[in-house]
């Protein structure tokens, strides 16, 4: 472990904005994309089931 405290960790030697700005946006984007893809698959299944039920 290289950090002395949690606030030390968050501060990232003064570069917290840049480091957490990078990791934060990456995380958000990589959570949104799978949710969108899952919704697309869900909609495709709904459509297929609907089409073939009549």
């Amino acid at each position: 472990m290289i950090w002395n405290s949690f606030s030390d960790f968050l501060n990232m030697g003064g570069y917290g904005l840049y480091v957490w700005g990078s990791y934060g946006v990456t995380l958000v984007v990589m959570v949104i994309e799978p949710l969108l893809a899952r919704r697309r698959l869900h909609n495709a299944r709904q459509a297929a089931a609907r089409e073939n039920s009549v």
């Binding site: 290289i2 950090w3 570069y15 990078s22 299944r45 073939n52 039920s53």
Partner: protein
């Protein structure tokens, strides 16, 4: 699932049938997500808690653990996408064209992440968010190529014409990949040369380990995304076929949904 069992004698072309691809991809997705999360946890632990502070860039360098994996993968995904798009065009293989389309949004997302993290890394180390240097400009063109490919294939309703047009655009865009890769050597501009080389490296061991773990995590993410999205595309394009009709009446076909 029984689409797998129905087919004895696996051949290289077995999974080029959309029905079998749909079943196999569905089996793979949970494992890909598990690999993605486990590798990311390990990679972030090594990168944020074990890797020492860099002597010249201090802690700002830690952006590298997502910047470089995202950059390498977004270039690799483009080549794979162009390959399958071309394959689908030349051999009129539906599954290949669908898989190429499934890769594009993930490639665009990773290209965006590369540009975003690069910008946030550039500010403290170079003193600027953005410059039109060779590497950054060619990377921006990569993002435009992905967006152009998605827009073009989505805009054409006819499945085969859409695949042909997309393949042509993807193939023309391949020329951009060596330009990106060699830009730091051909033009002496702001972006630095690569620090990972096949023989020897200028990086500390924990830094290298974290970067590889994150690279494989992003790789698993790409597979999970491409498989999920290509399954949706398969259902969208094959809705009228017998196998989708048979499948859609099976129990558990739409686990999250309400019956119509």
């Amino acid at each position: 699932m029984n689409y797998l069992a129905q087919q004895p004698g696996l051949r290289w072309s077995t999974f080029s049938a959309p029905s079998r691809f749909y079943a196999l991809a569905g089996l793979c997705v949970p494992w890909m997500w598990a690999a993605c999360v486990l590798l990311a946890v390990a990679g972030l632990y090594v990168g944020l808690f074990l890797a020492p502070t860099d002597a010249t860039q201090h802690d700002a360098y830690r952006v590298i653990f997502i910047h470089v994996p995202a950059a390498l993968l977004s270039m690799l995904i483009y080549l794979v996408m162009a390959f399958w798009a071309a394959w689908g065009w030349i051999f009129n293989a539906r599954m290949a064209s669908m898989y190429a389309r499934a890769l594009a949004p993930t490639g665009a997302v990773l290209t965006f992440i590369t540009l975003w993290t690069g910008s946030l890394w550039g500010k403290p180390t170079w003193g600027t968010w953005w410059v039109w240097d060779a590497r950054i400009t060619s990377y921006f063109i990569l993002l435009l190529l992905y967006i152009g490919y998605i827009a073009l294939t989505e805009a054409i309703d006819d499945v085969r014409r859409s695949a042909h047009a997309g393949a042509l655009l993807a193939l023309v865009g391949v020329v951009n990949i060596p330009i990106i890769y060699f830009s730091v050597r051909w033009w002496n501009t702001l972006h630095q040369g690569q620090t990972i080389k096949m023989t020897g490296t200028s990086m500390e061991q924990t830094m290298r380990l974290s970067m590889w773990l994150m690279m494989f995590s992003f790789w698993a993410y790409t597979f999970a995304m491409a498989f999920t999205r290509s399954r949706a595309i398969v259902l969208e394009q094959e809705a009228d076929t017998e196998w989708v009709k048979a499948l859609s009446t099976e129990k558990g076909f739409n686990p999250a949904g309400t019956k119509p």
